[in-house]
């Protein structure tokens, strides 16, 4: 692999990682803070993308569509909190799985009913279209750099909020002992509602900014949800910092790992064997990494320390 290609692949890995982080952050907050397993989080990502697609003809600008989609996701998250999640707090994890699985079916089928099963798309904003040349004759799309920057900024903000504000402390406190936190004067219900809305907004925003890159279809949340779960488990459930590290690890493993693995296998094995083993291994790579990490660090890479 040439150095330029390596750089491009590393950038790609980071970008995928950052996108994953945006999704996983909401998930890990909702799980870590409220102890709610939210399978419907992937659906919120999907809805974010569809909302942006739906807003585009209406407001004319991709920027506005993405912004509106983020806001609408926030509202939607708040609504879902009222209707569903409020009742799931403190419930058995398995009941949460059942309820949010039901939500997935509802949302995916509902979107299919409204928009049809065919994939949709969102154009890249004109300002960010095109590619910047790197050395070695390779190019990198400007929009992807923007996604990378936006994701990193979001990650920074989130980290500040969680680690260095009183709200962040209360979030972490509520995660371990909500009744006592309430008895000390904190409105835990409102706190949780905000976390949920925030998580929904992050996922929706991720969906909206991914929409110009990926295919927008009703099932787009599924694979992303799994990856996000891989990320939060790898990072240590409930730990935003851990999620960030794990998201980058997963992103890099997926992009760099695939390329390097291929190269290594082609060098090591006869071509026929390499072509059979390579792809199967590449598909497994993330899972292999996860299983290996968890076998040695069952609590994840950077667990929220002191969790019981």
């Amino acid at each position: 692999m040439s150095p330029a290609l390596l750089l491009v692949q590393a950038l790609n890995g980071l970008e995928l990682g950052v996108l994953l982080f945006l999704i996983a952050a909401g998930l890990t907050l909702v799980f870590g803070v409220m102890d709610v397993v939210n399978l419907a989080h992937g659906v919120q990502y999907m809805l974010g993308a569809y909302l942006a697609v739906a807003f585009l003809p209406w407001c004319g600008s991709v920027w506005a569509a993405i912004a509106l989609a983020a806001v609408a996701s926030l509202v939607l998250g708040a609504l879902l909190e009222r209707l569903v999640f409020r009742h799931l707090i403190g419930a058995d994890h398995l009941d949460q799985v059942l309820a949010t699985f039901g939500l997935i079916l509802l949302a995916e089928e509902g979107v299919k009913l409204l928009f049809g099963p065919a994939p949709r798309t969102l154009p890249v904003p004109a300002l960010l279209s095109g590619a910047v040349p790197l050395f070695g004759g390779l190019h990198y799309a400007v929009y992807r750099l923007a996604v990378l920057a936006a994701g990193l900024a979001m990650a920074g903000l989130l980290w500040l909020m969680i680690e260095h504000t009183r709200t962040g402390m209360r979030l972490r406190a509520g995660a371990s002992n909500a009744p006592v936190l309430a008895a000390l004067g904190v409105d835990v219900g409102r706190l949780f509602a905000r976390v949920l809305a925030l998580g929904a907004m992050l996922a929706g925003f991720a969906g909206a900014i991914a929409a110009p890159i990926v295919s927008v279809d009703p099932g787009m949340g599924g694979p992303v949800l799994i990856l996000a779960f891989v990320v939060i488990v790898l990072g240590g459930a409930g730990s935003v910092r851990g999620s960030f590290v794990a998201a980058l690890l997963v992103g890099l493993t997926d992009t760099l790992g695939r390329g390097l693995l291929d190269a290594a296998l082609i060098a090591a094995l006869p071509p026929a064997a390499a072509h059979t083993a390579g792809p199967a291994l590449a598909s497994m790579l993330i899972y292999l990494v996860m299983a290996a990490v968890l076998a040695f660090r069952p609590a994840g890479l950077l667990p929220a320390r002191g969790r019981a």
Binding site: R172, A173, V180, G189, A308
Partner: protein, 228 residues
């Protein structure tokens, strides 16, 4: 200041409290006594809105609190040291103290002066503390909410004798400042020195009510309600 009357509550359908009532004036200390499982903690949980009251009234400074959400009751001026400490395990000691703090005479330095061991552990996570240290943290945390009424449910459980003596001294000082205290503790001798009045709970009812002196004057009461 605090008037509790006819309080009934329980878990699921099992009733535990059957009409608990007492009052607590400004600067007054009431000790709640009773054998294991008689409903002391249940009384506290119901007061704090952690368990919904089935019947009865809870008035603080004239305001009805029964049926209100937990956080509103706390904000009305009640500070709690819960049974079993309830320290937030993932927060550091410092974060545990300030996350729920409200402005008032109790500040972080003042709390640390009372509980110096916490000062040495400020950046340790709650879960890493020893049992006694967690207990101190729970007390400090409650003080920093600057309550008008402090409720301590077995707050000296697991504390070394020296420290327990210090905590009781601090409570006496609080009382002198006009703070109301509701305290549950098994060290009846220490309580007798601190409390203005005592109440004995049995099977969810207050079966005796009086001053420490009265309690000591009548060993039969102790024998009947507090011994096995």
């Amino acid at each position: 200041m605090l008037e509790v009357a006819g309080l009934e509550s329980g878990y699921g359908r099992a009733q535990v409290l059957f009409g608990v009532g007492f009052t607590l004036g400004m600067g007054e200390t009431l000790a709640l006594l009773g054998r294991n499982g008689m409903g002391k903690t249940t009384t506290v949980r119901t007061l704090m809105g952690m368990l919904p009251p089935w019947r009865g009234s809870i008035r603080l400074g004239g305001r009805e609190l029964a049926g209100q959400a937990s956080h509103l009751i706390a904000q009305a001026g009640i500070g709690l040291v819960p049974e079993g400490r309830g320290v937030f395990p993932t927060l550091t000691v410092a974060e545990n103290l300030i996350a729920t703090a409200r402005p008032g005479p109790w500040t972080l330095p003042r709390a640390l002066a009372l509980l110096p061991r916490l000062g040495a552990r400020l950046h340790h996570r709650g879960a890493e503390l020893s049992g006694g240290e967690q207990q101190m943290l729970a007390i400090g945390r409650a003080l920093l909410t600057n309550p008008r009424l402090l409720i301590l449910d077995e707050a000296t459980e697991g504390l070394a004798p020296l420290l327990r003596a210090e905590i009781f001294a601090a409570l006496a000082a609080l009382k002198a400042e006009g703070e109301a205290v509701l305290v549950i503790d098994k060290h009846v001798a220490d309580l007798s020195r601190l409390a203005d009045r005592m109440a004995i709970l049995e099977k969810g009812r207050i079966v005796w009510h009086g001053t420490p002196a009265a309690l000591h004057a009548d060993p039969a009461i102790v024998g009947r309600h507090l011994h096995v």
